[in-house]
Amino acid sequence: MAHLSRRRFLKIAGFSAGAAAIAGGGTRTLQAMATRGPAGETRTVPTSCDLCFWKCNAIAHVRDGRLWKITGNPADPLSRGRLCPRGTGGIGAHFDPSRLHAPLIRRQARGEEVWAEVTWDEALGYVADRMQKIKATYGPEAVALFAHGIGGAFLKHTLKAYGGVNIAAPSFAQCRGPRDVGFELTFGEGIGSPERTDIANARCLVLIGSHLGENMHNTQVQEFAEAIANGASIIVADPRFSIAASKARHYLPVKPGTDLALLLAWMNVLVTEGLYDKAYVEQFGFGFENFAAEIATRTPEWAYPETGIPPELIRETAREMARHRPATLVHPGRHTTWYGDDAQRARAIALLNALLGSWGRKGGFYYPSSMDVPGYPYPAYPKSERGKVDNPEHKFPFASEAITTGIREATISGKPYPIKGWLVYATNLVQALPAQEETIKAIQNLDLMVVVDVVPSEIAGWADVVLPETVYLERYDDLNVELFRDPFVALRQPVVPPPGDQKPNWWIARELAVKLGLGAYYPWKDIEEYLDHRLKAAGHSLAELKQVGIVKGAKPPRYFDEGVATEFATPSGKIEFYSSQLAAAGFDPVPRYTRPVEGPPGSFRLLYGRAPVHTFSRTQTNPILQDAMSENEVWVNASVGARMGLRSGDYVTLRNQDGVVSNRVKARVTEAIRPDCVFMVHGFGHTARGLRGAYGRGASDSQLITRYVTDPLMGGTGTNVNFVTIEAGA
């Protein structure tokens, strides 16, 4: 990152004058700015952040024509005026030295990272030509789209106009899918993103592996801090002493993979001791007797040998939850694809919340609402006879979104029909999907592989055509109209021009559609016209949003006692303690615990998670965030470290059960993790050479995740089932 030179400093210092001081200390002129800080002519632009998918609204500050900093928009209910560290460092995305500058077409074998720079016309012409050929031979459904985030909206539109139906994001089957399915099966509704968790008002907050504070989803962390300040009782179950655990009144170092046993035991205590919300369960519950009978044997004593948590602690924490109900929030988590029985675990969390009566209650789960902003009136999309490939014959009966790994499987097998083209937008599938070999195998079956990205990521390395996108600070995106505590509509708009020949996704999608002869699907000439049309339909205008960034709607009712209808979109119309639809599909109608499969002797279960300054594998080349954290570490329990003669900072390699050896990675020898597992932050250990300062730094958990267990309910890929040994002296 460049900095203002001292000399320039002195030159412009004269323009700044001191103003009123914070504590009445008087005013002074700044005779020597060089001593104190920067100055310059600044302007501000409201826009929205894209460092993660929370999409906080922000204000970008431009000083002397150069991007300076970005802060939270005080009008925004998501950021509440304060961005998270990634958002604050977001300007680094614009300055990233690894950025792609022009479209590229492959000149050698896939994976070789050798391309030629071409014009946009040539690149999109090539893509359109291949797409037409695939359509002619295999049908339009043979082109799939993987897209993560709001930026994928227009590519989805183009693909649907083309006749495509196979569109998926790793956010379902590799992340929050099991959680949403578990809650849908219980309450008839999922959790969504942003989560509908009322953390700020919780009197008791239970986190199961969820590491708020390291996971920086902004509003949640802010509310978490509020809950701490309000003296909420925090209970954390995690094999690792996370930041959240350090804030907890009760920390339960649960054995990895046994969370469901802990949940059942908690429910057993609530039911047998009669501590649950009887009126709530009676009024809204379905099948409680069957449920109670099923968990009658799941005592804390039963759970003790499974979880390693002493029965008294299980009882004490259960009573603590009951004491604060209904303002007891058992957080459903977000990345929940762990062991393959994840939807059932999520259902157990849902049921525990139901026993506590927290759903629809203050301090539990609120009912979110969104602003009414009509979509753009497009022509109807072509109908597909063949359906989607990701979940043939509803193999996973409760999958409520498309399954990425299902598309991957169909691409490999050619069944139920061949997939011959992949369009990949803003998701590094090599790092995001488990079993990298399968991803690469699938790619080898393709006739066309297109990646739209901002940096030459691993997945871009496998593309035939790489299309460089502008970063969020340089483009418009579709309107953000999300379900949240407060309804709002928010705009992302360009702050500075792109540094090269990068194009925004809407332009790419539109040009591609035109080249495919689908111009009729883009009746607007540019995105400003599109945005203004949608905003006017909602009673606002683009001009207004460009000024303020976000407009909020009226405060809606959020809880049952504020007038939210007590309706549950389940087959029984009630909260399903016993699920007949699960029973009908041959699954446990009340969650049942199965003991996790152990690893080979002497190995450690590989766990992974987040760091507050990075998002997935997307941000490691951002120079500001890279400066904050340039490589990950593997956490090793102190007794294990002592036995191996390891010290913090020593480099080691990890070898998994299938013989895959990681890049070298620093050990963090610490008391803060159980001895039966190791932990690392996801997203490091990049193998793409163009990722400056990130290539070869740290180790990649994704590389070591060669195995996964598929959730039979919804197709999620449980990935905490890999085991590693530690090899010192790397």
Binding site: A628, M629, A638, S648, T670, E671, A672
Partner: protein, 311 residues
């Protein structure tokens, strides 16, 4: 178990302070050497050694000027903002040993220059009659004694300053010792004496300088002992810091190069020389001088490594 983690990663500061490489130890060593030259030169002057008799008293100021210039060169090389060095001489900061040092360095030049001037033979100054007359006045007995006194005083100030510079930086517990000033002074004296008796041509002068050096080395050993004992008895911070020299990463180099080869071995050799059991050898004074440099290197490095621990 106590585990400390920091995200700070500043160059020269992390993982432990290493702001000063070779330049500052060399500067401190040369400064001490110059201090020794000045004290010994002044001492000999006060003992009535007049110019033109082949006394080292009038060689040492010349050597001192050269060494001091080299030392200031090393200091200059260490500055990160070299072009601003003149800022040092716009102000005298009474609380800053660094500021005092800057001024002491400037002030010792004229003292040495006067002694050097007194040593210039008459005929070499024939072209500058007024300078020659001034040099003549300096050579008068009273002037020489006064010059000797001033030279001793400035030498002691310079020598102590090289230690105080470090000991005033209280954030580094190893340096936070009042013994460091006297220790660096005596080390400078021993370096100066070793150098002087090595180059002395007058046997009587050589012998008295040799005996002086033995005294300095013994004193230095005593001061090192005080330095270590002082730390060991001054609480956790100091005990932790001095452990670097007593069973830590700097222990071997300290005991082998500073104490062993730099003091004890030459002390034995020079004692044998003084009692005429062996002839004069340059090995002993060279070891003393190398030991003086090693002392500065070890103390500067270990001191930076020492830090304010959190119990």
């Amino acid at each position: 178990m106590l585990e400390l983690v920091t995200t700070r990663h500043n160059p020269l500061v992390d993982p432990s302070l290493h702001i000063w490489g070779w330049e500052i130890p060399v500067y401190l060593f040369l400064g001490g050497w110059v201090a020794g030259c000045m004290v010994l030169s002044g001492w000999l002057m006060r003992r009535g050694r007049a110019p033109g008799q082949g006394s080292v008293a009038y060689v040492l100021p010349w050597v001192g000027i050269v060494l001091l210039s080299l030392g200031m060169g090393a200091l200059f090389l260490d500055l990160e903002h070299k072009l601003y060095v003149w800022r040092m001489y716009l102000t005298l900061r009474p609380t800053s040993p660094m500021s005092w040092g800057g001024w002491i360095l400037i002030l010792v030049y004229p003292v040495m220059a006067l002694a050097a001037l007194a040593a210039i033979p008459r005929d070499l100054l024939s072209g500058w009659p007024s300078l020659a007359a001034f040099a003549e006045r300096l050579r008068a007995g009273r002037s020489l004694r006064l010059l000797g006194t001033v030279s001793i005083a400035s030498g002691i100030a310079l020598g102590i300053y090289t230690g105080i510079l470090l000991s005033s930086l209280g954030a580094r517990p190893l340096w936070a010792s009042a013994v460091l000033g006297p220790l660096f002074l005596v080390s400078g004296l021993s370096t100066g004496a070793a150098f002087a008796h090595m180059i002395a041509r007058d046997p009587e002068e050589e012998s008295s300088l040799l005996r002086a050096d033995i005294l300095f080395l013994v004193t230095e050993l005593a001061l090192i002992a005080l330095f270590l004992i002082g730390h060991l008895t001054s609480g956790a911070q100091h005990a932790h810091a001095v452990a670097l020299l007593l069973g830590g990463p700097y222990t071997a180099v300290f005991w082998v190069f500073v104490v062993g080869l730099g003091i004890v071995v030459p002390l034995v050799i020079q004692s044998l020389m003084a009692s005429h059991r062996i002839g004069h050898t340059v090995i002993a004074p060279l070891l003393v001088m190398a030991g003086g440099l090693a002392l500065r290197i070890v103390i500067v490095a270990a001191g930076q490594y020492s830090h304010w621990i959190v119990p």
